[in-house]
Subunit: 465 residues, 2 copies
């Protein structure tokens, strides 16, 4: 049963590529209102495509771009209901001048490493990725006329913009969109030869801070010495956020953080993530996070407190002997499983207030979009089924990795559908997602499609629990 699908995936490569190219041509930059019509057209194309392969499909209005839902309503008794998630919106393309060919005219070319790849905006993030799954479904249906299990496909258009649109949509849909598992295809392989399953994500909260001191900007000659300088005060607060050991010094900030299991640590150690390789790519050599924690732990299992922007005083050419009346900064905090975003925010505010010297005031503004850190139990049978399918396809056991970023939909599924996610993707380290000349390896697309077919096969055989 599986082999005939794999054969037809191999035979249909030209058609699969054409389908992807059709989707890539839509300038579906969801975050920019100027491209709203392109987003709607991409959603319309997806509906037609899903219908053509045999699913019931339609667009659904949200507070942002339209979402597409496709459904295969029946499955064999005892088999699960699977939801597949992807996003058709793409990042803006600026700076356009750095693109070698137009971002919405997909083409096949060679990467710097001499690998055949599909170039264009959205190839890797996320149109190419989502099409690996949809092509597997299309060719399974073409070969067998039906799917073995019930399937819901959800493709949204606000992933790169404001994730609260989809969150509201999922909240409103509630149980209607509940499945036994969500497959999310928006992550990377470990390296060119090693597939990966992502088992943890960091959450994120964001705060803006303003420190004020004197009632007005002061002359550093007339007041320098006795007058408090808010820029120095805010710098000192930033400096105090971490201890000498790199640990965040905010009391209570680590509440709920569990130590990483020995099993997981051993697994990560085996991955051989090295400072020279990982940090070397961006001009660094030394892991600057918590002392005594491995690079993988610092990236995937430990929270951060980062200042993303800070400004105050005179910042133009020349000099100005001013003591500024205020200083401002933007902070984000990456959170791991167990931390409560609201409590972390409150702990940060308490800490900053407690460290404030006399004569200064501090104010805070929260950005929306809080997300929690998420870790998935690796004993979870879906991971076993996916790992087996991936090993069958790639010949190499899948790496179980963490990720330092947030994928807010995973939390939304947990909250509104009480549904866990399985994170499998085929993007590569050099895909340049969010950058000019984004690409997706031809091998990622082809073997990604085969990988999903194999997982469908595992589920059909009952190897998912």
């Amino acid at each position: 049963m599986l082999n005939s699908v794999l054969d037809s995936i191999d035979a249909a490569q030209a058609k699969s590529r054409q389908n992807l190219f059709d989707l890539l041509k839509f300038k579906s930059i969801g975050t920019d209102p100027a491209f709203a019509a392109e987003c709607r057209a991409a959603a319309g194309w997806l509906v037609a495509y899903l219908k053509a392969m045999g699913l019931a499909a339609q667009t659904h209005e949200t507070s942002g771009q339209p979402a597409v839902i496709g459904q295969w309503g029946e499955g064999r008794k005892g088999l699960p209901h699977v939801l597949f998630y992807g996003h058709y919106d793409v990042q803006p393309v600026d700076p356009l001048s750095l693109w070698h060919t137009p971002p919405f005219e997909p083409r096949i070319g060679q990467t710097a490493r001499g690998v055949e790849a599909i170039f264009g905006r959205g190839t890797s993030d996320d149109k190419g990725q989502l099409m690996t799954f949809l092509e597997a479904i299309r060719l399974w249906l073409a070969a067998h006329g039906s799917l073995p299990f019930r399937l819901t496909v959800l493709i949204e258009g606000d992933e790169e913009g404001d994730s609260s649109h989809l969150d509201r949509f999922l909240k409103a849909k509630g149980k209607a969109l509940k499945a036994d598992i969500a497959f999310v295809c928006d992550t990377e392989m470990w390296d060119e030869k090693t597939p990966a399953i992502t088992t943890s994500l960091r959450g994120c909260i964001a705060e803006d801070v303003t420190v004020t001191g004197p009632a007005l900007d002061l002359h550093s000659g007339y007041f320098g010495g006795p007058a408090v300088n808010p820029l120095k005060v805010l710098s000192s607060l930033v400096a105090k956020l971490h201890g000498a050991n790199g640990r965040i010094a905010i009391p209570g900030f680590y509440d709920g953080v569990k130590p990483v299991s020995k099993r997981r640590l051993a697994q990560w150690k085996k991955l051989g993530l090295s400072e020279s390789h990982f940090l070397g790519e961006v001009g660094l050599r030394h892991a600057a996070g918590e002392k005594g924690k491995s690079l993988a732990e610092q990236l995937w299992a430990r929270p951060t407190a980062e200042v993303n922007g800070l400004w105050g005083g005179y910042t133009a050419e020349g000099r100005k002997t001013v003591l500024p009346a205020k200083a401002e900064a933007k902070f984000t905090f990456r959170l791991v499983e167990g931390q409560n975003p609201a409590k972390c925010r409150a702990a940060f505010r308490r800490f900053m207030r407690a460290s404030l010297p006399p004569d200064c005031r501090i104010s805070f503004a929260a950005h929306g979009g809080d997300s929690t850190g998420i870790a998935v139990d690796e004993q979870n049978p879906w991971i076993g089924a996916a790992a087996a399918a991936l090993k069958d396809e790639w010949g190499t056991p899948a790496a179980l990795v963490g990720s330092g970023v947030s994928i807010p939909v995973v939390e939304s599924f947990r909250k509104h559908q009480k549904m866990e996610s399985l994170l499998v993707g085929f993007a590569r380290f050099d895909d340049a997602a969010h950058s000019p000349n984004e690409k997706y390896d031809v091998e990622s697309y082809h073997r990604g499609t085969r990988s999903w077919a194999r997982l469908i096969g595992k589920i059909a055989e009952g190897k998912w629990k």
Copy 2:
């Protein structure tokens, strides 16, 4: 002889004000190249004004903005040659949004204290101040047709920017600009009723600093934790500049600083400078400088290390989860008599380099215009003459005070002309020099002019030695 001049000063107030307004309208921001033509126009206006009152005058090119020199070549035998110094350049006007009226459209208004004042950029620093002297000269010449002594007027355009331009100019001029004394009008009164003579000044050095880390801006999800954040590093360096006791922590920075004499400390104590009064005016209550030093010492006799501007990362609306590739800051250091500016700069750079974590680089750019701290002997006879003239005008003995600011020209006069300075000015505590809504009290302008006329009278009577 004096009385007729004082009478004409009183009678000519409207004209004196008009002359000042004419000068205030030039946007002579010397530090910003965009305003070079405005500076040249201000200099041209001054030349015409000096010529009209009877002085020989012309502009002189410097390596910066043009300087204006006016001369009255003859004087009575036995009377001194006096040089008067002021500057026509003004501070930048940002933030413009905080100005109640346009900075270069001078107007008469009421201060928060209900006092009549002239509002506009440069009213107090230094156009209003320099015009007190020039109007006294104009009206003396109008009344008597000649001055009793030889006079050189020097008005420059680089005081708020790079004072090395005027220093080079004075070095080149050498003896040609030597007089027996320099009158410098760029300082404050002690309070609304008490004139002041300034007997010490702090020097100043300025440094720009750039800290770089990763080769490019990084995503805080993919790299947050192990990747060093230059904005955090620079904040920590700023925080380390001072110890918990408020003392500057740079090794060697205090080399050469002498303790203040008991006599001077006693004099300062008598002035009754209080935190609640001095700092209360600008919304502060606590002297934040070195612990164990009086407010007067912190202001006039102790060096400072201040950050005047700092910026890096994302500073616009919303949030951006970026780890910036670099962070920048502007520093100034106030120095006191005995400190060597070059050695202080070197000590700062050594300290910053020594505190830098791995994977970061730091670069420094010195602004020109280093100046040393200066203390004047209070027994000096010019101080006696000025004190007598000020007491005649204000009815209150002049306070002998220190000043926290730098007036680099005082050092240049010492070095190149072997000439001491007499520092008398009529600015007020609430003038907001360097800030939005700068003003100069109408009384400062009027009685400042009368004060200079009285000092001219003292010199004419031989009461200056």
